[in-house]
């Protein structure tokens, strides 16, 4: 995900933070206060005691801006570690989406055919609707949602990206 556009690049940044009150507000406030973009942001505790949360933020900017973002994040007091997955080597990005599609007759068959092709699972169904669950990178979800739109897309809920580096090395190493 490091496509270059007019000197801009997208960056997927993983931030390990102390799981304390206000920490998410601090991170988001940093982005809004300094005018940085947030394309998506996810957060959840990731250690056994729930003390440490991992924030995955997808942002974009020039190299200088992205270096700034990382340095600004790193100097926040409750931040343990900042890692720019997009430049530190190969990494995986996934997003989960729940997609509600409404329709009858032939449209229902079409939904199921396309869902199968995109490896989306039916997790809820009525006689006139489906809720499909799908994981993948953002582009794949975008493509699927675009296909559902003319058929009867009713609602989409997406998590935003989570990401991890490939290989045996952990983020704190």
């Amino acid at each position: 995900m490091s496509d270059m556009k007019g000197g801009q690049r997208a960056a997927t940044i993983a931030v390990l933070v102390e799981n304390e009150a206000g920490v998410l507000a601090r991170v988001i406030g940093l982005f809004s206060g300094r005018g940085y973009n947030i394309d998506s942001l996810t957060v959840a505790p990731v250690d056994e005691t729930g003390q440490i949360s991992r924030i995955t933020v997808v942002t974009s900017g020039t190299d200088m801006v992205i270096e700034q973002i990382k340095a600004q994040l790193d100097r926040l007091v409750p931040v343990h570690k900042v890692s720019d997955l997009s430049i530190e080597g190969p990494h995986l990005t996934r997003e989960l989406a729940l997609i509600k599609v409404v329709g009858r007759g032939e449209n229902r068959m079409e939904v199921l055919r396309l869902a199968d092709a995109f490896r989306a699972r039916v997790v809820d169904a009525t006689t006139e609707s489906f809720v499909l669950e799908m994981t993948g990178n953002g582009d794949k979800i975008d493509a699927f949602v675009a296909l559902m739109r003319p058929i009867g897309l009713a609602e989409v809920s997406r998590t935003g990206a989570v990401a991890i580096a490939r290989g045996p090395k952990g983020i704190m190493e």
């Binding site: 933070v17 102390e18 009150a21 206000g22 406030g29 200088m64 100097r75 007091v77 409750p78």
Partner: protein, 599 residues
Amino acid sequence: MSAATQAPPSTEALTLSGAEVVLRALKDNGVEVIFGYPGGAVLPIYDSIFQQNAIRHILVRHEQAAVHAAEGYARSTGKVGVVLVTSGPGATNAVTGLVDALMDSIPVICLTGQVPTHLIGNDAFQEADTTGITRPATKHNYLVKKSEDLSRVMHEAFYVAKSGRPGPVVIDLPKDILINKAPYREATTQSHRSYRPRTEPDAKGIREAVRLLKRAHRPIVYAGGGVINAGPEASRLLREFVRMTGMPCTNTLMGLGAFPAEDPQFLGMLGMHGTYEANLAMHGCDVMFNIGARFDDRVTGRLNAFSPGSKKIHADIDPSSINKNVAVDVPIVGDARAVLAAMIEAWKADEAPQDKSAIAAWWRQIEGWRGKDCLAYRQESKIIKPQHAVKRLYEITRELGRDTFITTEVGQHQMWAAQYFGFDKPNRWMTSGGLGTMGYGLPAAMGVQIAHPDALVIDIAGEASILMNIQEMGTLAQYRLPVKVFILNNEYMGMVRQWQELLHGGRYSESYSASLPDFVKLAESFHAVGMRAEGIDDLDRVIREMIAIDKPVIADICVAKDENCFPMIPSGAAHNEMILAPGQEGGVAGVTDEGKVLV
């Protein structure tokens, strides 16, 4: 400074009231004085203050002033300044001071009262979302919700405020936490879970920096407030480095005093109102060594024309300051003292000779710029020139040999103070640089005088700024603080008037100081001494009398009303496009519309 604090680890807890825990933690962290203002939410702390003698409380007249006083205390001592205010309006009044401390990297701890935990979020009386409001106004903040966290948070706040790049920390204290019993544990030597700023520089960067500087033909050292924050030893090392290398040195507004003003290698302050020689040397250098400064827009002028031909070395304790505005060739993360010590070592170790003849040629060029005498002014009539008032103040204090601390308000007088008052030591100059807060100088002077009871402390003020925290004259009287307020009274918001003259066609919109008080009577009503210099014949006498009186004084110095502060790099212009005073030839830059949008 990797350990949280100094005391040995201890696990046995002492049980005290929360308020007692707060005071005990302050004492154990070496606090002797706090600046505060009471109210409902902090009454338990005030009750504990009443029952002890270890910590002195200074009652200010406005919470903003409490923070500036703590800043003055911190900047003149190198210690953490401590503030205590109540919830709601007490906390919101403190916000300007907190942002001021954040912008200038001053270690301050501000204890704010809060409504009891069960009422938080209920719009209770005098409730404000203090941690929400101060999140972008502080380096870090805490809301203490559990009594068992209280002593840890108190100790941690000191570590956070003073380590790495220093800054203000807020601790929000709900009233029930102050009343309920809480365990007190001493600070541990354990390092902080997540905040461990780097202070020792990387040897490779240092070697590269020395390699560039040794081979430079036109080097310059550009030193900022980071050198002052790193302690007096850093200033000593800066002097040693600059002398051993023979390079010219310039200081930022925040760095004044880091290098002695009378040293022949000092080029004066740089930037918007910096000297001609400092700015042209920055523009024309081939290698620049920035130590503890942040390429602020007041310093760089138009970025794409900033020192175009130089290799840039930037040493800073805050990695986010590096490559923020200006792309640099050699980044060095570290404390200024550690960096300078390493640079001196590496300089000695590097065998390559310096090109002495190139350096001599560089100095000849600098002497040419110096010859312009850009700070010259003519004191020709009976009307006191503001520059002359500052110059005489400087000369007389030197002649008397008093240890002198200067604070300022914000405006032309601030720049004249920076230009005409020389500082030979660090920690003697307190001004609001980053935020530019009118009303800073008087309370800051108060904090300085508390820390240095026998020193001469002078607030160089403007007649408009001084009114923004004039209520602190009451504090001076109560604690017998002999602060001198030296007002350069031009009956204008002079800096605003100057910009209107130069950029807005001389339309002086709302910049006249109308209906001013009689400052002499005002001083008297606050139990201080008032005096006035109406013309040049009064000036020296008033300065001498002011200094001689062992009481707070307001000296109202009536100065020329239409004087402008030069040299000046207009906004959006480059260093080599500075405007000199009328009568001195030099590049006069027209200000473009693009420049006008800048402040």
